[in-house]
Symmetry: C2
DNA sequence: CCTGATGGTTCCATTATTTGAAACTTAGTC
DNA sequence: GACTAAGTTTCAAATAATGGAACCATCAGG
């Protein structure tokens, strides 16, 4: 049930193919792609050639498989630096991690999904690339809901329209209506919870990072497990997180930051 | 500055524009790009629109500036996982770092340049995204030369043709001829040195990671400074590094194939 | 209030590129 | 050697990209 339907000319189609390879999660053969592709043989073939030529894909000549190219890693380095909150937020997250001793996530919105751009893990040393870049659903994660709650109406609708609500756990808000009520509460409260809505046993408090004008830039969450702590205990850190979010927002604004779109 | 030599149809040109934004290193205005661009106003404009639409770029509506989009971060996560040696090499690099106590780099080749995909720093905790994704010259770094030395002739020539040899330090090999001799020595020896060729005071030993068939997959280096140690002392780790490289190569080769459907 | 810049956006006839069915070339099997 | 599956190339028709020029702000002076 992937969202097919691209309207951006040749470039859009090529990026579609790129996504398809990315989505596979591992090297894929031409014919594998062909089956799932909307494009005819020759067309798909030419796209793959072009993308390979451009270093966006690599072709393993032995196996005849395509995989994402390392050029992306280079681009992402630049992207992460110039357009994610992560480099700027780093010291503040470090501080928050030190003070609270809990796992911290920094996330932004990408195409209606939550994209984690940084992480601090209380226990283990950081595994950056392996966690930054991960995506998750917006409607059932703390950071996701925190951001959704502060999206302008039209953007929110666009995002929700693209969602297919899946009931991950018994606590998941599985309808737009239920979610809307929850978002309102979050807006009033200033922070969002994850009450085991995505994964059983995993809870968190999340706070949005907003510009002075109220535009959503990202969100921070403090995550733990039901075994280690309770939601109430986590909530006691809420003000602290808000403070951190505020500092990040302030610094981001002084550096003038690009907006997220849905 | 770089001589444009792109011709991969529309897609290639669009990716060119993407690189241009990446190269700027900071959010750029339309007109800034227009000056440096080979494309006329309307064309460049449409590319920017398309790329923004696709989430490869973000447009800050207040400033009117473009920056790399977070979609790249998501793609890179996948790229790093599925097509770099990093995830697979991680435990081996950890081990090597523990044993030697020195800084370790894992690099691969990208468009004739060295691309660092992972790093272990003896002293400080890792700063992954901020170091993975970095690029450097091939002809004057340990990892670069280690890889060049094992490239097939035609590939080597392609790469060298693209290089503009810059004399970073007095020790830099600044001509293809001099470099060729060095590469021969490296091939014979099995490992490469960086004798302060890129940065004064920085030295390293590097070893290529090769498939059984002899194809270059990447390289590992062990880096230090002239103040802390000597090249001879570093070289004493050479066999250890080769051993690590061998293990990574073996695992990389065995860890390739199956396919799913769905 | 006008006038001229500057920076960004849209039009649209022309042109070049993409498209994709089909033919072809391997490489692998029985 | 004949059959199949996977990958590659061809080529006329369809389509999308091109870019010169016109257009629409917004702002700064006069």
């Amino acid at each position: 049930m992937g969202a097919e339907g691209n309207q951006d000319g040749t470039v859009g189609k090529a990026l579609d193919v790129l996504d398809m390879v990315a989505g596979a999660g591992k090297p894929v053969r031409f014919s594998d792609l062909l089956v799932h592709s909307a494009y005819p043989k020759a067309t798909l073939y030419r796209f793959l050639q072009t993308l390979t030529n451009q270093g966006m894909l690599t072709l393993d000549p032995d196996r005849g498989t395509y995989a994402l190219g390392v050029r992306l890693v280079r681009l992402a380095h630049a992207a992460w630096q110039q357009s994610s909150l992560a480099p700027l937020a780093r010291p503040y997250l470090d501080e928050l991690a030190r003070e609270t001793g809990e796992t911290i996530h920094l996330a932004q919105m990408d195409m209606g999904q939550v994209l984690y751009v940084d992480k601090r893990n209380a226990a283990k040393p950081v595994e950056m690339f392996s966690s930054a870049g991960k995506v998750g659903p917006a409607y059932c994660t703390g950071v996701g809901k925190a951001m959704l709650a502060h999206l302008p109406d039209d953007a929110l609708n666009t995002v929700l329209a693209r969602q297919s609500f899946h009931r991950f756990t018994p606590h998941t808000y599985a309808t737009p209506a239920a979610l809307m009520t929850e978002l309102q509460a979050i807006r009033a409260r200033g922070h969002a919870f994850d009450r085991e809505e995505h994964e059983p046993g995993i809870i968190c408090v999340a706070v949005p990072i907003l510009t002075r004008a109220g535009r959503v830039m990202g969100a921070i969450s403090l995550t733990s497990t039901t075994q280690r702590t309770t939601l109430t205990a986590l909530e006691s850190h809420a003000d602290q997180i808000k403070h951190t979010a505020g500092k990040i927002a302030a610094e981001a604004e002084s550096w003038r930051f690009p907006e997220q779109n849905g």
